[in-house]
């Protein structure tokens, strides 16, 4: 049997309660009926005892009275006696009939013996009446017959009386009464039990109801917590009813949709919901959730990106979740750009190292080429054509030298190092490099006067500034074919700073002082940085006649990673790095742009105070005689070493070439006074130039020492001094460079005397 419906039905409290209730009512009614019947029986008994017995007694009395009057009439047959007899008989007759008719005789009537006697008496009455009638009309014997017949009834009447008094059947009836009482008690008991169970059940029900109530309260509290959580979440949540109307929307959704209150969409069709209503609800048949990204334009602001997911509920409705992922996406993109930037800088570093290495080797080669070409040119002085060829080689080597220098400028490790530089030179080098990068070079013009005041700065960084600005300007003119110009000049700033900027600076001293102003609908200006003190400044001006910069872009264009260029073309770091560089040079930037007319970037850099330059000494011509000087040339690159050796040979020097630094050191240690001059290459296996120099000084070498290196900027002045090195020759070198530096170093050494390294 799969299920048992009856038991299931009985298991339900309301059914049991109903059954108990019906039972209680039925049994109570039955008990009441029983009590009623008991009362009736009691009344019947009462009648039987009281009124019934009286009626029977009266019958006997009237019977005896009738007999008596009949005897009196027989003794004296007179009219008066006859009338008395007739009246007495009539009364007896009327009494005899009462047994069967009167309600007072109900009880006794039911006694069989009484009933039988009554029947016998009533049957005898007409016979007696006939006898009496005969007697009345003068038949004297008739009265005797009447009396005889009447006396026949004596036993019947007596038995009736006797039965009434004994009332055995009534005793039996009383047992019946007790039985009825018992039944009544049982019925009442059952009704009581049913009522009791009903009460118990009601109590149990009450308890369960209370429990349910508490449970309900807890459930409601839990629900409220959930609703509060739903309201608190930043994600927009909506519930859509099976008929497609919106039945719930939390506050975040209201905020996301930009509507005033949830009531605006509640009860409306899903397709009426702004922005997200266009996405169709999932059909209930396939029951698969929808998850998609949508872009929502909001007024003139940037579009927001939302992640919209619609999950079908099992009742046919849907749960809608809207999450604003704009910021996350922006952060993701920023992360990607940063990673790209990091990879690029790593790549740049690797390329720089590679370039440095290559440049080093290349310098050695160029040094050799240049050196030997110089020698050739001198030796072929008599043959002008050949000397010309040698001169071509020297020229080519010089160009190679420039190239290597430029490459090296991008692989320098110390990008931040600042020194006194000539911006003209930096600008010219940059323009040369730009020439190949500019797509429309014929539209680029520059005006850079050759004699500019020197500034303190980092040539590489300033080159980067110029390059960034010019490339940006070039991009701005790409569409409309405008011109780009680069001018460098001197201006005198008389103090203060851009309008309104000073007040702002009072609050934001430590931060980037940036002020962007919209002059009119088409013109915007920006000032970055503050100039102090007043005085002379170099101005780098990059101007274009391009599309111009909108105010909204102007506001953000110096932010890192902000770019208007296509993906992959701009990193968004160009102008940001310009700010950083200009700030580190204590400079300022002023931008002015007009839509459709073009933009102008002005970089102002403080001019370095004029100071006597050590380079001036180097330019002084020395006429020191070099012949006879004992020179030790240490260079692992035989070609370079040989060039030097050959050069010194021209001056009748005693030059020894040693390609191995360790051997050279050993020979100096063995005899510190064997050489007057040691010229050593910087980069060598096992022992570098600095260490070799230091070792020689420790061994007691008192002569002059010169370091040859392709990376002159890597060697600092103090390092040279502490190693006891007197001069520096940058590779690639010309014979003039070498001779000038050697003479200078020798004189320097001679002038300094030998306080530290003097022979004992």
């Amino acid at each position: 049997m799969p299920d048992r419906p009856l038991l299931g039905l009985l298991g339900r409290p309301q059914v049991i309660r109903m059954i108990l209730f019906v039972a209680a009512v039925l049994f109570t009614t039955a008990a009441a009926a029983s009590v009623y019947r008991l009362n009736e029986e009691r009344n019947a008994l009462f009648h039987t005892y009281r009124t019934g017995t009286w009626i029977i007694a009266e019958i006997q009395i009237e019977y005896l009275k009738t007999l008596q009057t009949a005897e009196a009439f027989r003794a004296r047959p007179e009219q008066a006696a006859l009338e008395k007899l007739q009246t007495s008989f009539d009364v007896f007759w009327s009494r005899a009939g009462l047994v069967n008719t009167s309600s007072e005789a109900v009880g006794v009537r039911e006694l069989p013996a009484v009933s039988a006697a009554s029947t016998e008496i009533n049957r005898a009455l007409p016979l007696l009446d006939a006898d009496l009638h005969k007697a009345a009309i003068g038949n004297g014997d008739s009265i005797v017959a009447f009396i005889e017949h009447a006396e026949d009834l004596n036993l019947v009447v007596a038995r009736m009386m006797q039965q009434v008094f004994i009332q055995d059947p009534l005793l039996y009836e009383r047992t019946h009464l007790v039985g009825n009482l018992e039944v009544t008690n049982v019925l009442l008991g059952i009704a009581l039990l049913a009522g009791l169970f009903l009460i118990l059940m009601s109590l149990a029900q009450l308890k369960r109801t209370e429990r349910l109530h508490e449970q309900n309260i807890r459930t409601r509290a839990l629900l409220e917590t959930r609703i509060r959580a739903i309201e608190a979440t930043r994600d927009g949540i909506a519930l859509v009813a099976p008929d497609g109307t919106v039945e719930f929307a939390n506050r975040s959704l209201v905020g996301l949709l930009g509507i005033l209150s949830p009531e605006i969409i509640l009860g409306r069709s899903w397709s009426d919901v702004p922005a997200i209503g266009a996405v169709p609800l999932p059909s209930p048949e396939n029951g698969e959730a929808i998850s998609q990204e949508i872009a929502v334009a909001r007024g003139n602001k940037d579009a927001r990106h939302w992640d919209l997911s619609i999950t079908p509920r099992n009742d046919g409705g849907s749960v809608v979740l809207v999450r604003d992922i704009t910021d996350r996406r922006a952060a993701q993109r920023q992360n990607e750009v940063l990673r790209e930037q990091f990879l690029r800088s790593q790549k740049m570093e690797a390329i720089g190292q590679l370039a440095g290495g290559v440049a080093h080797d290349f310098n050695n080669i160029l040094a050799a080429v240049s050196g030997f070409a110089h020698l050739l040119r001198e030796d072929l002085a008599m043959q002008p054509e050949q000397a010309g060829f040698a001169g071509q080689i020297v020229g080519a080597a010089e160009r190679g030298k420039d190239l290597v220098k430029r490459i090296l400028s991008f692989s320098r490790a110390d990008m931040e190092r600042q020194s006194i530089i000539d911006l003209h030179q930096v600008a010219m080098e940059t323009i040369q490099m730009l020439a190949s990068a500019l797509p429309q070079r014929h539209r680029f013009r520059s005006s850079i006067p050759p004699s500019l005041p020197q500034i303190r700065g980092n040539a590489t960084q300033l080159a980067q500034v110029i390059m960034n600005l010019v490339l940006n300007a070039s991009d701005a003119t790409e569409d409309n074919g405008g011109d780009v110009s680069l001018e460098i000049g001197t201006v005198t700033i008389d103090g203060g700073c851009a309008e309104g900027l000073l007040a702002e600076l009072a609050h934001h001293v430590a931060e980037n002082p940036i002020r962007v102003v919209q002059v009119d609908s088409e013109t915007s200006k920006a000032w970055i940085g503050i100039l102090s003190p007043p005085g002379q400044y170099l101005r780098i001006r990059v101007a274009d006649t391009g599309t111009g910069i909108p105010f909204t872009t102007m506001e953000r264009m110096f932010d890192p990673f902000f770019t208007t260029k296509a993906q992959g073309r701009g990193t968004g770091l160009g102008l940001a790095s310009v700010i950083g560089i200009v700030k580190s040079h204590r400079g300022a930037i002023a931008v002015e742009s007009r839509l459709g007319a073009g933009s102008e970037f002005n970089i102002l850099l403080p001019v370095a105070p004029a100071a006597p330059d050590a380079a001036d000494d180097k330019t002084a011509v020395s006429s020191l005689v070099l012949s006879g000087i004992r020179i030790l040339i240490v260079d692992d690159d035989i070609a370079v070493g040989t060039v030097l050796q050959k050069m010194f040979d021209r001056f009748d020097c005693d030059a020894t070439l040693c390609p191995d630094a360790t051997t050279a050191r050993n020979s100096v240690v063995e005899d510190p006074s064997a050489f007057d001059l040691i010229i050593t290459d910087m980069t060598m296996p096992e022992l570098n130039g600095i260490d070799l120099a230091a070792a020689c000084r420790r061994a007691g070498f008192a002569g002059t020492m010169i370091l040859v290196t392709g990376r002159a900027e890597m060697v600092s002045e103090p390092l040279l001094r502490s190693s006891g090195i007197d001069g520096l020759i940058a590779k690639p070198f010309s014979q003039e460079d070498v001779v000038r530096e050697v003479r200078h170093a020798l004189e320097h050494r001679a002038a300094a005397g030998r306080p530290d390294y003097g022979e004992s």
């Binding site: 009266e58 009395i61 009237e62 009275k65 009246t87 007495s88 009539d90 009364v91 007759w93 009327s94 009939g97 009462l98 008719t101 009167s102 309600s103 007072e104």
Partner: protein
């Protein structure tokens, strides 16, 4: 002369009044011509029988005595009551003379009526009941005369059906049948 006695004086005065009023009274109540069915005696002012007793000789109270046959009763205003009783089934019409009218006709002045049946059964009926409860002395049952065998010929009937308050064993015991005489006290 015996010394004057208060009671004796009073009774004498009563007797004198009764004797003097007798001719006038006797003329108001006719004589029965048929068999006498009801005999009323006691404290009544009018009768239709010669006064009994001899007051001057025996000093007894002499009262008026009235006798009624069926014709006399039927001459009086008839009243019909429809009622049930313990002695027959259902409701039946009982026609007769209002007990109050009867008492008035005999000039009754007592408070209690001693009613006697043919078998000398006797009950007391308050005069008040006769007035307030519209009790009748019935002589017809469903418009038929009642024989002695059928509890007739006269039957005191209270209107039990119309007034449930009267339907008590005490009242039922006063509904005497086979009535033959009443004594007013």
């Amino acid at each position: 002369m015996t010394p004057p006695n208060f009671w004796r004086k009073s009774l004498l005065a009563f007797w004198l009044t009764a004797v003097m009023a007798a001719p006038a009274i006797a003329s108001g109540l006719p004589q029965p011509t048929d068999k006498v069915l009801l005999d009323i005696s006691g404290a009544i002012a009018q009768g239709n029988l010669p006064l009994r007793g001899d007051a001057s000789q025996q000093g007894e109270v002499v009262a008026a005595h009235a006798q009624f046959d069926m014709a006399m009763l039927k001459k009086m205003p008839a009243t019909t009551i429809e009622t049930a009783t313990p002695w027959f089934d259902g409701v039946h019409r009982l026609t007769g003379v209002r007990l109050a009218d009867l008492l008035k006709a005999v000039g009754a002045s007592g408070e209690t009526i001693e009613a006697v049946a043919l078998n000398d059964y006797m009950v007391e009926i308050p005069v008040g009941d006769a007035v307030s409860d519209d009790v009748i002395v019935a002589y017809a049952f469903d418009d038929q005369p009642m024989s002695v065998r059928d509890k007739g010929p006269l039957w005191v009937i209270y209107p039990l059906t119309g007034r449930p308050a009267l339907n008590t064993p005490e009242i039922q015991s006063k509904m005497i049948w086979q009535l033959k005489a009443m004594t007013i006290q």
